[in-house]
Symmetry: C2
Subunit: 215 residues, 2 copies
DNA sequence: CCTTATTTAAAACGACCGTTTAATTAAGGT
DNA sequence: ACCTTAATTAAACGGTCGTTTTAAATAAGG
């Protein structure tokens, strides 16, 4: 028989699913506890508050993703002369796939959670990420700079956030967009295919030549 | 003396400000009517519902932006042999600036509203836009296809939405990002400069060569 | 077996939401 | 002046939210 999940785990599993589908603020504790088939009060008993539950959900993915990303960046830094933008971006793929060990659909869940986290609680997640994994983010940025020595750091800063926006937007509205795409082009697009389509777009945008400015 | 605004206009002005700052669902009618210094019930009296108020706010900008965009696209279509992706994208700049006639900070307001509209009520705004201005959107898409004959339409569909995500994300979190950028790079970045930085990024991403796929 | 601590269950709390009602005031036409 | 229509006001309604409280069930230990 399948292993019986403890109440905390049932809550986490249900919360991840509903948060990723409808966002944090649009998901009520009653929806979560109903989906998990546990009592409403058990969320506050086990996690203290809804906010703490959100952080617990996010931390579970970050604690897997970020160390995996650090390892990929470390491997890339071994021969730092010949790194391309695509190489650096590709470093996020394996950590994404590693999220399957958290949950079979972990990659999709995590990306959607990220999207909602950024669009809803804006600064909170960034602060959380930077205080816990700021070093890894810094390394990533340094490698991107190294791969694009002819683009000034300030421009790269903005282009990385443009890329983040493209990814998060595509994921949070991926279901609606995939439906539209299916209606317009007949064939269906898988969620993973969306990520694969994103990489060349982002790589080209980051490495684009800077327009001449009269100064 | 300044012209006295009617109740409807006071509601619209307050709603635009609060919607663009906190999103649609996070802004209550009580906040709006308090900011506008009108009675709570007047929203439902003049607009019928909160949903109708949201549509009225969006329609006010779309009715200025979309015809202006149509005019720009029409001008571009006069010599359709030599259109570049940058040319097509540049068509959105003048209509953006035209939004100053709606409100001095109209361009920023509209972009933020767009961002929240897409991330919150997802399908609703798209349906509204397509039924009213579907022809203009279609022309825009056709010109993008024309400028990129070697990229398949499905890929272009996704890349346009990636671009939309990059733009909307940059705008909704532009204030926080500009503060971070100022702290990291010393100099400040203006909101308009953000849009200018976006264009080459998006243009390069849209026109990027498609990776080879084994089929 | 009884006592104690832990976990679950159900109900209620206070707050805020969008909306509606009913009463009052202002405005416009004849 | 009057009457009719429009606009504004204050109050309340039904509903959902996160959280807390209260009581019951369960588990553990001597």
């Amino acid at each position: 028989m399948a292993k019986a999940l403890r109440t905390q785990d049932k809550i986490i599993v249900a919360a991840e699913k509903l948060f990723s589908e409808h966002g944090f603020e649009q998901t009520s504790l009653r929806q979560i506890t109903s989906e998990a088939e546990v009592n409403l009060a058990s969320v506050n008993y086990h996690f203290g508050s809804k906010k703490a539950l959100i952080q617990a959900v996010m931390a579970r993915y970050q604690s897997v993703f970020m160390p995996a990303l650090a390892e990929q960046l470390y491997q890339l830094q071994k021969n730092p002369e010949q790194v391309s933008t695509e190489d650096v971006l590709a470093c996020v793929m394996q950590p994404m796939i590693a999220l399957r060990q958290v949950r079979v659909d972990g990659p999709v869940i995590y990306l959607r959670l990220l999207g909602y986290a950024y669009s809803e609680i804006q600064g909170h997640l960034r602060k959380f990420t930077m205080t816990n994994y700021g070093e890894i983010v810094h390394e990533f940025f340094q490698l991107i700079q190294q791969a694009n020595p002819n683009v000034c750091p300030k421009t790269l800063f903005w282009r990385l956030h443009f890329s983040l926006g493209a990814m998060l937007f595509a994921q949070t509205s991926s279901q609606a967009l995939r439906e539209i795409a299916a209606a317009d082009f007949g064939e269906e697009t898988q969620a993973e295919e969306t990520l694969l389509k994103l990489l060349p777009f982002v790589a080209a945008g980051i490495s684009a030549a800077e327009p001449d400015v009269e100064s």
